[in-house]
């Protein structure tokens, strides 16, 4: 058969393609644009590199929105979508706010309450999808409007100012602290890096590890690739769908809580801006809408790019309406990259190996994403 080649030939071919593929991968493309953009912004506005006032807030939002992007990416990986990410974030944050304000819980406990609430609402969504077989778009759209109705009502009933403002110890540190506050042996870290980066990085690694290393991640990706075939391969697909939505809900809640800690109060408006961004990151980063393929690094880079452009436009004094226009345009323009990629993926034979065997296994999660 023409597909068969000698091992040596295959290896050689693969090397050539790997190099080409690396240069045309969405991740490389994103890094390139990010570097160029930083260059442009930096030369036009030298004060843009003020650590505490520009970089730290930027990194904070990158951290928060990376989690939002991952929440969406998880659901995309099973070929579904979550229109309610923003509302789930608000839902989780609401419970944390309640826990702090009304139940006087300490910081960590309140955080956990919010995460659990997010996971539960996500699991409920996933359960409805799995049980009824109704399209995830419809279920999450309905869920988003249900939560949109519910959350402001709870806030207005339970708090006079429609916001929970109690600040238990630790909230300030996580939300607004930078490494300047972390001092060891008389030496403090840079003010440009917020403390929030640490837990977020941890979550990113966990999600990456889940997809590239574990049984669960593999089963989730196959569920996304072809749910019927997955079920017939002894994968409990219904459970996987529920689990993925639960994790997505918990991640959304985490992002919502982080946002609340960084602004200092819990309000119904949390998560309003999440939906568009949540798609922007993963899709720019090469995650397929059709399911079965994800990229954690790509999601992170996609989010970074989107926020960088946003920040840049703000620095140049663009109004909120222009931000919207640009954000939409970026999504369209940069997405042509996904198209090229998809076409490339369908091509037979010359198709590159998705996880090159010569690559150290422990770098897979971050270099090429996980692959079905």
């Amino acid at each position: 058969m023409s597909n068969e080649t000698s091992p040596a030939g295959a290896a050689k071919r693969r090397q050539g393609i790997d190099f080409k593929r690396y240069l045309t991968s969405p991740q490389f493309f994103l890094v390139l644009i990010i570097v160029v953009l930083v260059g442009i912004i930096g030369s036009a506005k030298p004060n843009a590199f003020n650590g505490a006032f520009v970089i730290a807030p930027l990194l904070t939002s990158v951290a928060i929105f990376t989690i939002v992007g991952l929440a969406q990416m998880m659901v995309l990986s099973i070929g579904q979508m979550n229109i309610a990410v923003g509302n789930m974030a608000a839902f989780g944050a609401m419970f944390t706010g309640l826990a702090f304000d009304l139940w006087k819980m300490p910081f960590i406990a309140g955080l956990l309450v919010g995460l659990v609430a997010g996971a539960l609402i996500g699991a409920l969504t996933g359960w409805i999808i799995a049980k009824t077989g109704v399209n995830s778009f419809i279920v999450t759209l309905a869920m988003s409007f249900a939560l949109l109705g519910l959350i402001p009502t709870v806030y207005t009933t339970l708090s006079p100012g429609s916001a929970f403002t109690a600040k238990p110890e630790g909230m300030e540190f996580l939300g607004r602290g930078t490494f300047l506050d972390v001092c060891m042996a008389g030496y403090c870290g840079p003010a440009a890096i917020p403390v929030m980066v640490v837990p977020v990085l941890l979550v990113v690694l966990l999600v990456g590890g889940l997809y590239s290393k574990t049984k669960l991640g593999r089963e989730i990706l196959l569920t996304g690739a072809n749910i019927k075939a997955a079920e017939l391969s002894a994968i409990p697909t219904n459970k996987r769908v529920v689990l993925v939505h639960a994790i997505s809900g918990a991640l959304a809640a985490f992002a919502g809580i982080l946002l609340a800690t960084s602004t200092g109060s819990f309000t119904p408006a949390i998560g309003n801006e999440f939906m568009l961004q949540s798609f922007l990151g993963p899709i720019l980063g090469g995650t397929l809408l059709a399911g079965g393929y994800i990229s954690v690094t790509g999601t992170f880079l996609g989010i970074t790019l989107a926020l960088l452009i946003r920040r840049g436009l703000e620095l140049f004094g663009a109004g909120i309406e222009m931000l919207n226009v640009f954000l939409g345009l970026i999504l369209l323009v940069a997405l042509s990259a996904e198209r090229i990629r998809t076409v490339r993926r369908r091509k037979p034979a010359e198709l590159p190996s998705e996880t090159p065997p010569d690559q150290p296994a422990d770098r897979q999660a971050l270099s090429s994403g996980a692959t079905a």
Partner: protein, 348 residues
């Protein structure tokens, strides 16, 4: 138009009709009959035009297996542009009305062409154009509300009646009938459905899917622009909130009306009936003075309920068919002479 419905669909329409009647009666009673008063009825039908139109606009994209998230933004921008042109730039009000339709068609075609040329998923394309258009809408009117006094002749149409019904409602119904006829009697309409059902098979039959996608998005945009025109004509003023709450109802009407998300089906009658239901929920909110958020909650629940019930019914039917077959099978084993009776029973 001949209305020959498959049995299952027919029963779905009956359920919808019953819901509308019961809902109207409940509202009538709880309002002490006021709901059926002339003024209240006039408003009811006047504000029914938009749900019908946006439902149809969404239905057309669903027919080719696409989603259009930008319907609200298209309607909003077209109404706002018309308002700004008439009020700020001194254009003729009727020209403003025409601009609504043109903006809608152009935006829709842009969606279609983007989907075709870039091959990006329609969901993402319309998400992006929605964001862009929302920015444009905000840029146009900012925080102002432009009063309808600037276009009195058009606003008069918005309040006019034909045969005792608001003119704009009648226009919406006319649009619905035209859409229905187009899907039944024109090859273009059939080709949209074919593309939505099975792209590959459509190609093999010589149908251009690119053309179908462009036409569907274009028509969807045009009708969204029409909804923008209706808002322009009937609202007391136009501001940046026009179109902001159309997303859910645009999906609610076709989906409750029996259109599948995977493409290949339309249900004009069902969509119109479901728009009635959506409007009733809104009326009920006004009647009981609930927060607008509750409308969303109820509509969301109704959508879920309808779709889930449909699934349940399908499952039950296939189980029932299986059980009947099993009865026939067992009969044939245990008592061959009784097989025929059972077979007859099964064929009923």
């Amino acid at each position: 138009m001949k209305l020959k419905l498959p049995a299952s669909l027919g029963s779905q329409y009956l359920v919808l009709l019953a819901t509308i009647v019961i809902g109207a009666v409940v509202l009538g009673i709880s309002s002490g009959g006021n709901f059926f008063g002339p003024v209240s009825m006039q408003t009811f039908f006047q504000f029914l035009a938009v749900p019908i139109l946006i439902g149809l606009a969404q239905m057309i994209t669903l027919a080719v297996g696409q989603l259009n998230l930008a319907i609200g933004a298209i309607g909003g921008v077209s109404a706002c542009l018309a308002a700004v042109m008439v009020a700020d730039w001194g254009f003729n009000p009727w020209l403003g009305a025409l601009v609504c339709l043109v903006v809608g068609a152009v935006a829709g075609l842009a969606n279609g062409i983007l989907v075709v040329v870039t091959k990006i998923n329609g969901f993402i394309v319309t998400l992006a154009t929605m964001t862009v258009l929302l920015g444009v809408q905000y840029a146009l009117v900012n925080t102002r509300t432009i009063s309808a006094d600037n276009w009195k002749p058009v606003a008069a149409l918005g309040k006019a009646s034909v045969l005792g019904l608001p003119a704009i409602f009648v226009i919406a119904i006319v649009v619905a009938v035209l859409v229905g006829l187009a899907f039944k009697y024109t090859t273009t309409g059939r080709h949209l459905l074919a593309s939505g059902d099975n792209e590959h098979a459509a190609t093999l039959a010589g149908i251009s899917n690119d053309r179908s996608l462009t036409i569907a998005h274009g028509a969807s945009g045009l009708i969204a622009g029409f909804a923008g025109f209706v808002s322009f004509a009937s609202l007391p003023g136009v501001n940046q909130s026009v179109g902001g709450d159309w997303l859910l109802s645009s999906f609610a009407a076709p989906i409750i009306g029996g259109v599948s998300l995977t493409g290949g089906t339309v249900a004009v009658f069902g969509t119109v009936l479901a728009a009635f239901v959506v409007r009733l929920v809104d009326s009920a909110r006004a009647e009981f003075q609930l927060a607008p958020a509750w409308v969303n909650l109820v509509i969301g629940a109704v959508i879920l309920g309808t779709v889930a019930l449909g699934r349940l019914r399908e499952n039950r039917e296939s189980t029932k068919a299986g059980m009947l077959r099993a009865r026939v099978a067992t009969h044939r084993i245990n008592a061959p002479h009784m097989a025929e009776t059972a077979a007859k029973e099964a064929s009923l």
